[in-house]
């Protein structure tokens, strides 16, 4: 299947992009994108609409071609392949869509069977595999109905069954939960997590919802204006976003100081106010006790808190230190800096807040 001359094995990344550029009428949709997806990884690719997410996903299966750079799928450089030569590679990449893209004229079973038919599987083998897949997504009883009779969540399950049919190496998810209600979204994400664990499938989740990334991704890439502006473990990025784009995508998920508190922050005052971002092991440390040991005063938590991303704690805390002493403040910052993801002195607030 077009793999001649390449070393197969777990060390070959599922996907590798080198300096990929795609322009539309001189406007760059992808501007020098480099990234690697390891096998078995779930990576979230998040960005606003128009950031270039869809273009990126279309470059991965050759539906779109970059003008510069290399797209390497499982060791095969696809950026120069002809449409015909691309087909064997495409058969190893499953894709699910926001609007499901099921064929209305085919039954559920025929839809799931289509990639198998394309792969040249004989009819009896096809039927057997289709039933396995429908069992996997819990819709074996719907084999002979048409997609129009299914709910959105059921349609997406069929989409997933169809994408998994040819035992792909990589699953691309293009806003797969964006048209679903929260409860159905949960079920679909759980299903994707399960197939990732059971089949060791590499998944790239494109979304504009940070909540989706938080629930399922191991790693997140933030795309803005065709560039990757931030990347890292999900807990780290959630705890301490480095760019304005990420912060705006996190709105609602990340604690922000209430306006009345912000109004009381001044360059001088009774108590220093600091912001501390933590994730992972740092979030399990007795931070507040350390602060109290230095200042001699109990630190007060004014706002913020801890959350959890797939068992990993992360959070943002706004602390009033109980003192305005410059030396003590410097000592607190010096102590917390190596123990936290980020720390910032915001100013001073009255002791009454």
């Amino acid at each position: 299947m077009g793999q001649a001359g390449k070393v197969a094995g777990a060390d070959v990344p599922a996907v590798q992009l080198d300096h990929v550029v795609r322009r539309f009428n001189d406007r760059p949709a992808l501007d020098d994108i480099s990234l690697t997806l390891a096998r078995g990884e779930i990576v979230g690719l998040i960005g606003r609409s128009g950031a270039g997410k869809s273009t990126l996903i279309r470059c991965l299966n050759g539906l779109d071609r970059p003008q510069a750079g290399r797209v390497v799928i499982d060791g095969t450089d696809i950026s120069t392949l002809s449409e015909q030569a691309l087909n064997p590679v495409r058969r190893r990449i499953g894709m699910i869509f926001q609007h499901f893209n099921l064929l209305s004229a085919k039954t559920v079973a025929e839809n799931v069977a289509l990639p198998l038919k394309i792969a040249g599987l004989a009819r009896p083998a096809r039927i057997k595999r289709v039933m396995e897949l429908l069992d996997l997504v819990g819709l074996a009883d719907k084999a002979n109905v048409y997609p129009a009779q299914l709910s959105g969540g059921q349609k997406q399950r069929i989409g997933i069954a169809r994408a998994l049919a040819p035992e792909p190496l990589l699953l691309l998810s293009d806003e797969a939960t964006s048209a679903l209600d929260p409860e159905t979204t949960q079920q679909i994400l759980t299903l994707l997590k399960d197939v990732n664990r059971q089949l060791g499938l590499t998944i790239l989740m494109i979304t504009h919802e940070m909540e989706v990334v938080r629930q399922i991704a191991h790693r997140v890439l933030v795309l803005d204006a065709g560039r990757i502006v931030e990347e890292g473990p999900v807990a780290r990025v959630l705890a301490s976003p480095q760019t304005e784009t990420t912060r705006s995508l996190l709105r609602g998920l990340s604690p922000v100081l209430p306006a009345d508190l912000v109004a009381q922050i001044a360059p001088e005052g009774d108590q220093a106010l600091i912001r501390v971002d933590v994730y992972g092991p740092d979030a399990r440390r007795p931070l507040l006790a350390g602060v109290e040991a230095i200042t001699g005063q109990p630190a007060r938590l004014l706002h913020g808190g801890l959350n959890d991303v797939q068992g990993e704690p992360y959070g943002r805390l706004f602390l009033a230190l109980g003192t305005n002493d410059q030396d003590k403040l410097a000592a607190v910052v010096a102590k917390l800096k190596p123990e936290t993801t980020a720390i910032e002195v915001l100013g001073y607030v009255p002791a009454t807040v």
Binding site: P88, R90, N101, K106, L114
Partner: protein
């Protein structure tokens, strides 16, 4: 209904030879529209597929073929049928050997209906969601698979409706072909109803045409509904 009762009822309206003439004319119309309809489908659907897939962004993009074919279809469609009937006579002689009779009428009828059906089917094919074609491409489908498993089945309800419209148009056009000696109901209506002022014949032809069109439309709608799972 007993044969005697039928003869009595018929006798009030027309003579037996008249009745037989109408039956013969109806049969000729059915043959003319049936054969030219089938030919129009066989020629028109591939034409429509080529027009859609060779267009910009299509799976067989080829603008030279697309523009040439588009021009040919437009040219055929711009000739009024009554003129096409006469203009096609040399071609009809070449294919059928004669320019008179229902066999000869099939040539101009097909020349008119095939491009018409091609345009109607083209509209349905273009309405197939581009995302479905992309989804099939993303699965590694060949272009023939996209035609067979995506484009045609997804557009089929619309194609069937379009074919029904084409057939109804053909029934009308076949009556016009009757005017130049093709036989069929049109021929009877003109020779007896118009030239000999036999109003009963004229009314009978109109009623038969209405019934034929109604049956065609009903059958087409029923089939389109049956295959539409959207």
């Amino acid at each position: 209904m007993s044969p005697q009762l039928f003869e009595t009822l018929l006798g009030w309206a027309m003579t037996r030879p008249m009745f037989d003439l109408l039956v013969k004319g109806m049969w000729e119309t059915v043959v003319m529209t049936g054969v030219s309809g089938a030919l129009s489908f066989v020629i028109g659907l591939p034409l429509a597929l080529i027009l859609v897939t060779t267009d910009k962004g299509g799976i067989f993009q080829n603008l030279l073929i697309n523009r040439s074919l588009g021009w040919l279809v437009n040219a055929l469609r711009s000739v009024p049928f009554i003129i096409l009937l006469v203009a096609a006579i040399p071609l009809t002689r070449l294919i059928v050997g004669t320019a008179i009779g229902i066999g000869a009428a099939i040539v101009p009828l097909t020349l008119a209906a095939a491009p018409y059906f091609a345009r109607v089917a083209e509209v349905s094919l273009r309405e197939v969601d581009r995302a479905l074609i992309d989804a099939a491409r993303a699965m590694g489908a060949t272009r023939m698979t996209i035609l067979r498993d995506v484009l045609i089945p997804e557009a089929l309800p619309g194609i069937v409706s379009g074919f029904t419209v084409t057939m109804v148009t053909l029934i009308g056009a076949s009556a016009m072909a009757g005017a130049v000696g093709a036989g069929g109901l049109g021929d009877i209506a003109i020779r007896y109803g118009y030239q000999r002022f036999e109003t009963v014949i004229m009314v009978a032809v109109v009623i038969i045409l209405i019934v034929m069109v109604s049956i065609m439309q009903w059958a087409g709608d029923a089939l389109a509904r049956r295959i539409d799972h959207r």
